[in-house]
């Protein structure tokens, strides 16, 4: 007997609280890899979910999963932060000698995470976070990053190669 699944029988739309509960770690993990700063990642995750709550009525489950949608918002939030950081650094460089920050230091990350985060740029780190750590497939990663699946594969292989080189040096 064949059962046709109609729109009325489709899975009910989850509540925002359920989505938060399910994907908070994913969003935080992605932001932690991207920023290499747990404290900053927490701030950005908080901002991400504030935005998501405001935009929740626009979320359409048929267009993509809640995880992909949330990670897209997280990426936009992180990019805004990167831009503001870049502007701040430019202002500081113009005004005085900038304070030296140890980029390799990442508080609270495991040794492997530290290697991974120190080994690559933010662009490569986010591919590692999405494809390796969060185990998103190529299409979902491409949607989050706004690039083609082929570009995702290229960027991932480059990041893994660099990571391998770094691990070999260690």
């Amino acid at each position: 007997m064949t059962v046709t699944r109609t729109a009325s029988q489709a899975a009910p739309r989850p509540t925002f609280a359920e989505v938060v509960e399910e994907h908070l770690d994913d969003v935080f993990g992605y932001l932690a890899y991207l920023t290499r700063d747990r404290g900053q990642a927490e701030d950005l995750a908080s901002s991400t979910f504030e935005k998501a709550l405001r935009l929740w009525e626009r979320f359409d489950p048929e267009r993509g999963s809640a995880r992909t949608w949330l990670l897209g918002i997280a990426r936009t939030t992180a990019l805004d932060w990167f831009r503001s950081e870049a502007r701040r650094r430019r202002r500081e460089e113009a005004a005085a000698i900038p304070e030296r920050v140890d980029e390799a230091f990442v508080e609270g990350l495991s040794p492997a995470e530290s290697v991974a985060s120190a080994a690559s740029s933010a662009g490569e780190r986010e591919v590692l976070a999405l494809r390796v750590v969060l185990e998103l497939d190529g299409d979902a990663t491409a949607r989050v990053l706004g690039i083609s699946p082929t570009a995702v594969s290229t960027r991932l292989s480059r990041a893994l190669k660099r990571l391998e080189e770094r691990v070999s040096e260690e």
Binding site: V20, L24, E42, A45, S46, E50, F82, A86, V133, G146
Partner: protein, 340 residues
């Protein structure tokens, strides 16, 4: 390599309890901002605007058609119109009345010749009759009207088939021309009419002056002839007087023809059955409302097309600007992430 990947997955960062509590607390509150109208109509709902706009256009067209069921321009345009123009300086031409005008309108629009002056009066009437029986009766009555007014029939052409046509050329005394037009107009529905009035009084007066001059010249030649002393002189004067007499005869004939032209008016009557006249008879109120609605719809389509054509370059430029900005922003993001 696999070990590192496994370790990365095993030690993936977890959100702190404080962050979890903070976000979950915020999530339990209802969103402050409600979806705006644009949010609500976004995406697939925007597609509903197209049939809604089309429905509105149709409803407005029908509303205009029902409330203003005027005879459509198509009906008026299909009615024959007069084409000739009077070329004489003193000529007067009257434009044809609208199709399907009634006889009273024709009566007002078709004046007779001015009494006291010689005029050439030519009227052309195009009438529609119901069927071939009515065509035959109207033709017979037109001939009777001409005889009744003291005129005569110059030419009659009568033909019936799928469509019936009748062409009658009448001559009636000029002082009865107005009556003739009025009575002939009542034989059917006026499709077109044309009245040409050309003043002939001035040419007649000119001919009269020429005649008087020639008479005076003949009289003078006669006196000279009586006083002539030589045979050669007499022969020359006789020759001149003969020529003057010949010119006088020509002038008199010309004057008589002009006067005869002015005495009688020419009326050309064209009769056609409804099927043959080409004009669309006024339809029912529903038909006219539908015609009007279709007309309004056509205009709405034209306006929409014009707006689309006018807006297309702006939309293209806007899309190009938006696309360029998006591409530049993406490149900047890539550079930013590569350097962070």
């Amino acid at each position: 390599m696999t070990e590192i990947v496994d370790e990365l997955r095993a030690t993936r960062p977890r959100a702190s309890d404080a962050l979890r509590l903070q976000v979950l607390t915020a999530a339990s509150r209802p969103p402050v901002r409600h979806a705006s109208f644009l949010d609500r109509v976004r995406g697939r709902r925007l597609a509903l605007l197209v049939p809604a706009a089309a429905g509105l256009a149709v409803v407005s067209a029908v509303a205009v058609g029902v409330t203003r069921p005027q005879p459509s321009a198509r009906d008026a345009a299909s009615a024959p119109t007069t084409v000739d123009r009077t070329t004489a300086e003193s000529g007067v031409e009257l434009a044809a009345p609208p199709a399907a005008a009634d006889a009273s309108t024709a009566q007002k629009a078709a004046p007779g010749p001015v009494t006291g002056r010689a005029q050439r009066y030519v009227a052309t009437l195009a009438l529609a009759v119901e069927d071939t029986d009515a065509l035959s009766e109207a033709t017979q009555r037109a001939l009777a009207i001409a005889r009744d007014l003291g005129g005569y029939v110059v030419n009659v052409q009568y033909a019936t088939g799928a469509d019936g046509t009748s062409s009658v050329t009448l001559r009636v005394p000029s002082n009865r021309a107005g009556d003739a037009v009025t009575r002939l107009s009542a034989l059917g529905t006026i499709v077109a009419q044309n009245v040409q009035i050309q003043d002939l009084q001035e040419p007649l007066d000119s001919l009269d002056r020429e005649v008087a001059k020639l008479r005076a010249r003949i009289a003078a030649l006669t006196v000279q002839l009586e006083r002539a002393t030589t045979s050669v002189e007499r022969a020359q004067l006789l020759e001149q007087r003969a020529q003057a007499h010949a010119q006088l005869r020509e002038l008199r004939a010309s004057r008589a023809a002009t006067a005869a032209e002015a005495r009688n008016a020419t009326i050309q009557l064209e009769l056609r059955t409804e099927e043959g006249r080409g004009a669309v008879a006024p339809g029912s109120r529903l038909d006219r409302a539908l015609d009007r609605a279709i007309e309004v719809l056509a205009w709405e389509a034209v306006v929409a097309l014009a707006l689309a054509v006018a807006a297309a370059p702006l939309v293209l430029v806007g899309a190009a600007v938006w696309g360029t900005r998006q591409a530049r922003r993406r490149r900047e993001d890539e550079r930013l992430l590569a350097s962070s």
